[in-house]
Amino acid sequence: MKVKVDSEKCQGHNRCYALAPGMFQVDEYGYATPQGDGKLTPDTLPLAQKAVANCPERAIEIDEDDD
């Protein structure tokens, strides 16, 4: 299971970066990408879900089939 950011949709609000420390990185424009390969564990899944729920651009998704 992986967390993904759609770079076409992300507008650099930085909400995920603030809500889920360590899960995302942002560049100098604020555009976010997952840290590392974005792999989620049962422990980190709730944070990823919180990032999804708070992204105003609907740019974050959790891909359950991607290992």
């Binding site: 507008q11 650099g12 609000h13 930085n14 909400r15 970066y17 603030a18 942002v26 100098e28 424009y29 604020g30 919180k50 729920a53 708070n54 992204c55 105003p56 651009e57 609907r58």
Partner: protein
Amino acid sequence: MAEPVKDWTKDYDIFAKSYITDPFPVWDELREKCPVSHTDRWGGSWMPTRYEDLFNIARDVEHFSSRNILVADVRPPEEGAHIGEEGVTQYNVGAPPITSDPPVHTWARKLLLPPFSVTSVAKWEPLTRELCASLVDGFLADGRADGASGYAQIIPSRVIASMLGIPPEMAGEFTEWVRGFLEFGATDPELRNESARKIFTYLYERIQEHQESPERYDDLISYLLGSTVEGEPVPVEHVLGTCFLILVAGIDTTWSSIGSALWHLAQHPEDRKRLIAEPELMPNAIEELLRAYSPVTMAREVASDVKYAGCPMREGDKVLMNFPAANRDPRVFDHPEQVILDREKNPHIAFGVGIHRCAGSNLARMEMRVALEEWLKRIPDFRLEHPDEVTWAGGQVRGPRKMMVVWPS
């Protein structure tokens, strides 16, 4: 004196006193009865109030242009400031990238974002903290202060002045000009143009100083002047327009957010206590206060005839981007009327959505957080002196303008 509104669904007036003071029931009514309303007032406009509609329109930059983003029409849009031999000769609202559409928007935004990134903004936190602390210390013993004009108003103007490399003594003047442009000027074209002229003229003088002795400066103006687009220096008109934007967009807005947050906390002891007991909640609380009291309504101009939600919008029509109403849409937010400091699901669009997302959002958040932290540290218990005497500004930017608060001293 404008005619009082009888039917808000057909004839809304965003400058009506009742609306400015308490817009929430109007939004609730419009959202259910007429989610994309129309009025003939103030040059005519459409106004969506549901979250989904704001989301869609903000992202459809092909049909909805940002060339004119002011909520009341005073002059046709033109292409920014013009600099002739006699200096700045045209004072208009050209303020890239907020007033740009792609393709100019794309590079203009990339130019502006880095100095407002989370990391860049963090460098201004100590100065902001010191400023907030000294302001509160200045009136702490009095047991009362105007939380709007004596505190909230001063913070963003001083910080922006520092970022632009302008003496902090100018902050008061800036505030007056920006209010003349955005607040009082919203319905007074002459005052608006005069205020814009003052801002452009002042900024252009600073830009010329930077051009004459670049080695003396290291600030936002130097950064903009030193940047390039397609291998060429950024045109000076563009630098001027962007400085204008930074100044105008960075003052009223954040000031209103800080003021509204204090207005809320003054009336909600349980929220104050919680923020003091759980300081780690602050970032989340800031997002929630931004949602519940979003200050900014923007506008778009219809670029070509389009039917949206059954509404026949014609080229040139104005659409008011009521982000504040969207942020209280029960379709998206549970109990939207309540401030829930640890709200779990809060995809608010107080800073807009899509390519025009507020470039200063990280700065605004930092200023709000520091302003509330330093206030609560010294004044944990406070209330409005006379709740009915609080005055509000509204229209384009909503927030308290006079707000006496008292505390045990």
